[in-house]
Symmetry: C2
Subunit: 505 residues, 2 copies
């Protein structure tokens, strides 16, 4: 296999024509068939697991065990969505019976469900070459929704992207998916052309604030704007109480260092800030554990040099004290290697250098903030951070949770996930997961890019009024051939509005 | 009462500060209290009904009976949302039990629900002075979601806006809503400042493509972009078959003329196009009924003159034949009065003047398109229209619905509501209603601005991981004090993913 060429404009045009043409067939596919396609992709990845992982190790520098776990997660995600498709709850099928005596005059028969939006672009991430790349969550959820997918490969792992795409294509074809329901394109210019293409209906992205915002603006400025689900930057603050440190300072410090340095800190949920009482001497504990960690290779040279620059900027900020210096070196292939860097600042320094210190540093660096006993942590969090994927609180084992009530409430308004006694890295793929938070964590905080709820990004509602049964999609038919949940509003129910729950009117 | 002054920058600043400050209290309010507030607003409107309707007649020129019906709908909407709040299904509460044996490693306890986004702006519409204005659907759904609302009044009915706002404020205060959970502002410049205000979290709008797109762009270009739910332009094509005309041409023509001329055609769901077989002589029937309709006053001078200009543009297009000329006159107050104008074109003329003929004409004008028996209506619809709120098909009483299968499928991908044998004007307020379609019908076709689903525009998900019960919001607590539906994923269930529904893997 050779390094894939950039996709030409003519190729992109052919791909988009074909994707648009395949959309109706894909949308109409029965759930069993669509589900079987997702399972076939899962099997194909499983069968090529050693080859995929080795290629990923070579292209990304990430550890084999980490990549193997990530591939497993990717496979599990596909299986999860195979079930979601058949369960059919995601369709949100609603049937309002006709009601000649409706309070506002005769009401027609109305039936509403979610339908696939059409071709979706998935801008793959560098830091999850499986789970947020070619066959990752965005692709799985968009295919599950019934949308053709065009992946824009990340240049950090081109060969892996090409191989994965081949596997996905073959698996889908073997399960009678339309041939053109999946495609991959290469090249930055092509990515922008893809986003501007008038046949595209939605896009998902995981990456930097700069790239993500540029693309979000392009999506918004199109003659026909489309939704852009971008996951951009997050610093995931962690707050620990004195009791939490007193309970087991060594374990707390070690777990924190593991969380910030795993995958060389190149995780969107890496905790970029640790708020701890100023006088507990926690610095020494952090230094101890940080210095035990090996250097790790960063994903690709551009990203590594970007991290080195950002790290330097933070180290050079007045009031910043180094706790663990964590070397940064460049090898003969221009790859950057980094060990964990921990610095500390006071809350006042952080306030003075908001932006310079509070913007994300994508790599194994985190900032310890020593806070005084009088500090209002909720107010501080509000002042420093606009939006994050996560916020974390560590309490002592017998501490009254109500002591952090205000902080927990603040984190719930400024993040997508509030964590107690754990670490934000390691994201469970489940129905209740929320991976998305106020800007700049994501461009659209009403959505998630992990878990079953992520499918709703690629659906939109359509209602049918007084439609003949023959022209209704299966989920809305009285016979309900796909056995999906249907929410039915009975005739006469609406006359109870405002009274049903004991209202006076 | 005097005409309200434009809101000053200082006033807006105070309003936004207060709205942001009231957001947490409003969000935490128990459902019974929030529901009671909505019912109190309904009662207040009911009690001032004669005064409100008279003021609306004076300011908008719309018929009293129409306005009375619209106010009733507005009251019913508030009652409906009072029930939605208590039912609690809209919260989408999900609980994933902790699972130490989860396939991807131990899984924490995860709980997810939708929370209010924070202060919401409602840019009121001119054409629905009740249902899409101060106390209309956008306000009702945002308050139901738990968001403070700032209405930007429409200049077409300023006194009515001020009176309605006073009633809403008093009713909410009397039901222990925070004082600043509702406000109204006046002035176009203020509206833009409101949308740019960094305390604002979402906006809803109903109006023209030009104004809506301008505001949508402002929302997208903010340092922190916010969702903008705009309902812009729609031409709502209606397709009738030969059988439908043969069955009862007079009734069909009359109902169509009523649909396009009610409220002087100033409805977002007015059918702007009627596609009928070319050789049925339906023109004469349409002329007959159109000429029976009286002139009606248009909402305000600017809108009326805009309609007159747009009508002239259509009449001056080569290939356009006048069926009913429908006079347009201007009175001494500069108000425009218009009677229905019906023109006809061939499909080829329409193709040649796409844009000039296919853009919305907001007023009592509609275009009859005579189609030949060989015409592929699905292809024609795809070629002419990008997105609409509705699409309608009329079949003969014994006609096989499958004959229009392709057209129905095309309308389901290009509109938000597909109607059979009815008319798009008159929108039922029910759980299965969808009022929103692909751009330019709306800026965000995954949402609706009518019906219970409209509440989701003002909510976003947040997940809690391993949270102490005391720190969980009520809907996620084991004790479930508000008795909301909770979807629980049991421990061990996930090991069945991909197998549960008979997958091979």
């Amino acid at each position: 296999m050779i390094r894939p060429d950039e996709t030409t404009r003519a190729e992109l045009d052919r791909i988009m024509d074909a994707a648009a043409a395949s959309a109706p067939e894909l949308a109409a596919m029965p759930p069993r068939t669509r589900s079987a396609g997702l399972l076939a992709v899962a099997t194909a990845l499983e069968q090529s697991r050693p080859e995929l992982v080795q290629l990923a190790v070579r292209e990304t520098g990430l550890a084999e065990s980490r990549l193997d776990g990530e591939l497993k997660r990717t496979i599990v995600q596909l299986k999860l969505f195979a079930d979601v498709v058949i369960a059919g709850e995601y369709l949100d099928a609603r049937i309002d019976e006709a009601d000649p005596e409706f309070v506002l005059g005769p009401r027609p028969d109305l039936r509403r469900m979610l339908i696939p939006v059409g071709p979706v672009a998935n801008f793959a991430a560098s830091n999850f070459p499986f789970a947020f790349s070619v066959a990752g969550g965005d692709t799985a959820s968009a295919l599950a929704a019934g949308c053709p997918v065009i992946v824009k490969a990340h240049p950090g792992h081109p060969m892996l992207s090409a191989l994965t795409a081949d596997l996905v294509k073959q698996a889908l074809r073997s399960s009678s998916f339309p041939t053109d329901s999946f495609a991959i394109v290469f090249g930055q210019v092509t990515g922008v052309e893809l986003l501007r293409d008038d046949r595209l209906r939605a896009a998902a992205f995981t990456g930097s604030v700069r790239a993500g915002r540029t693309l979000a603006d392009i999506a918004a400025q199109r003659p026909m704007p489309i939704p852009f689900y971008g996951e951009l930057g997050s610093v995931n603050p962690v707050f620990v109480t004195r009791d939490a440190i007193d309970a087991d300072r060594s374990r707390l410090a070690e777990a924190f260092i593991v969380s910030i340095s795993g995958s060389a800190g190149q995780l969107c949920t890496k905790p970029g800030f640790l708020f701890a009482p100023a006088d507990t001497g926690f610095e020494a504990e952090l230094r101890l554990h940080a210095e035990k960690r090996p250097r790790e290779r960063m994903l690709y040279p551009g990203l590594g040099h970007g991290y080195a620059h950002r790290r330097h900027e933070i180290l050079a900020t007045p009031g910043v004290t180094v706790i663990a210096e964590g070397s940064v070196t460049v090898d003969e292939d221009d790859q950057v290697w980094a060990a964990p860097t921990i610095v500390s600042v006071t809350a006042d320094v952080l306030r003075s250098y908001r932006g310079r210190l509070t913007d994300e540093a994508f790599g194994p660096l985190s900032i310890l903030v020593g806070y005084d006993s009088g500090e209002d942590l909720a107010a501080l969090s509000r002042e420093l951070f606009s939006g994050n994927l996560t916020g974390t609180i560590h309490l002592g084992p017998s501490e009254d949770p109500l002591r952090v009530h205000g902080l927990a409430a603040q984190l719930s308004t400024s993040t997508g996930r509030v964590i107690f006694g754990g670490w934000p890295t390691g994201v469970a793929v489940t129905p209740a997961m929320q991976h998305g938070g106020p800007y700049p964590a994501t461009t659209n905080d009403s959505s998630t890019s992990v878990g079953t709820a992520s499918i709703s990004r690629f659906l939109r509602p359509v209602a049918y009024q007084d439609a003949p049964q023959k022209l209704l999609p299966e989920p809305l038919q009285d016979a309900n051939p796909w056995s999906v949940p249907q929410k039915v509003a009975r005739r006469g129910e609406s006359s109870q509005w405002g009274k049903r729950f004991g209202g006076e009117q």
